[in-house]
Amino acid sequence: MRLTINGVRRRIEAHPMKRLLDVLREDCALTGTKEGCGEGECGACTVLIDGVPINSCLVPAAHADGTRVTTIEGLGGRHPLQRAFVAYGGAQCGICTPGMILAAVALGPKPTLDEIKVGLAGNLCRCTGYSAIYRSIRQA
């Protein structure tokens, strides 16, 4: 399969039903994408396919063929959302953070609080109580 990951074109040999999550972590060594529940409930494995947030634990490699995939590594570490999560306490244990930030990226600039709540409803966090995450996104 051929796809563009974080702006870099890649050719990967993978079973078409391998999870995109495993393609990213095992074949591409991009371990920023986390596995939480493995059933589409927690959003920890969220990445963007052609700019759209999806759960990479539920996406077969075949469906990523020919697409543009963005993972947390693609934000480079100095993205305004990443800086805001650090500055405003949006990350505690950190396992939900890559998924939270990518779901927030998909909302575009200056989302309202309601847009944030809807856009992140599929991302669970057991540490922050969410308000610190919402604050981080609003301040980014």
Binding site: H15, R19, G38, G43, P53, I54, P60
Partner: protein
């Protein structure tokens, strides 16, 4: 961890005709689209099937359009497509409302209407809407097209009348007269499987459909007839409770479900938002 996938075979047709020919010649194959249900079973090792037919790229099955007075929704329309569609919001707002409460945005971006119906879970959130809207399921095989009333499509828990060589290709929904209402009751708004899910069309010929209260979605025809003939809401509630067969399970109890169904009937037929 995903269990070993090396024994799995995926067929990837590039057209509907090719998909139908594969079903005929290589079947039985398990159709897969957004994979939001299928991959849960695959990831947990509970799926015994090994041969799959990938429909995700068949964009012709994603169309939402008005055709011959009916609203036609392709089986591959995602929940996000339904939410975005001005046509759906105008003609079948209760379907857009249901789509908004399925999973989170990640699931809405991938899960399809056809998949929700094919999966035939009694808790499928779009199913009461299609039942109350008198939708028709359009099935295609290599040789033929057949249309099945939605209320006859599911025959039991996760059982449908779809034959192994058929695919759901679309849903046809005639114009709905009356005020539409949808309500899902779960532990939280997103990412929760329904304890009770209900769609109601109020007006001269009321229509009521309820999910998560029986092995398949229940279209409450006796309750509808009672309301149409002017029965009080108390009387209609008593009939509706007889028409459902809820069970105790991990999400709720039968008693709670009966109580909620009765309350929702009163709210959704009175014009309250639920």
């Amino acid at each position: 961890m995903q269990p070993s996938i090396s024994r799995l075979k995926l067929f990837q047709p590039s057209s509907l005709d090719e998909a139908l020919a594969l079903l005929r010649d290589e079947g039985p194959l398990v159709p897969m689209a957004g994979c939001t249900d299928l991959y849960v079973a695959l990831n947990f090792g509970t799926l015994t099937d090994t041969r799959f037919l990938d429909l995700w790229r068949l964009d012709a099955l994603r169309r939402i359009e008005a055709r011959d007075g009916a609203l036609s929704i392709g089986a591959l329309a995602t929940h996000a497509d339904l939410i975005r569609s001005a046509l759906v919001r105008r003609r079948l707002p209760m379907l857009a409302a249901a789509a908004r409460e399925i999973g989170g945005v990640q699931i809405q971006n991938r899960g399809t209407l056809g998949g929700n119906v094919a999966n035939a879970s009694p808790a499928g959130d779009t199913l009461p809407v299609l039942a109350a809207a008198d939708a028709t399921v359009v099935l295609r095989s290599a040789g033929a097209t057949r249309r099945v009333p939605f209320t006859e499509f599911s025959t039991g828990y996760r059982q449908t009348v779809r034959r192994p060589d058929e695919l759901i290709v679309a849903f046809e929904i005639p114009p709905v007269r009356g005020r539409q209402a949808f309500r899902k009751v779960g532990t939280r708004a997103a990412q929760a499987i329904s304890k009770v899910v209900m769609a109601v069309v109020s007006g001269d010929s009321p229509r009521i459909a309820v999910g998560s209260v029986a092995p398949t979605v229940v279209r409450a025809r006796r309750t509808e007839a009672a309301l149409a003939s002017g029965a009080s809401i108390d009387a209609a509630q008593r009939i509706l409770i007889e028409e459902i067969a809820p069970i105790d399970d991990i999400r709720s109890t039968a008693d709670y479900r009966r109580r909620v169904v009765a309350n929702l009937l009163a709210r959704l037929t009175s014009g309250a938002s639920g």
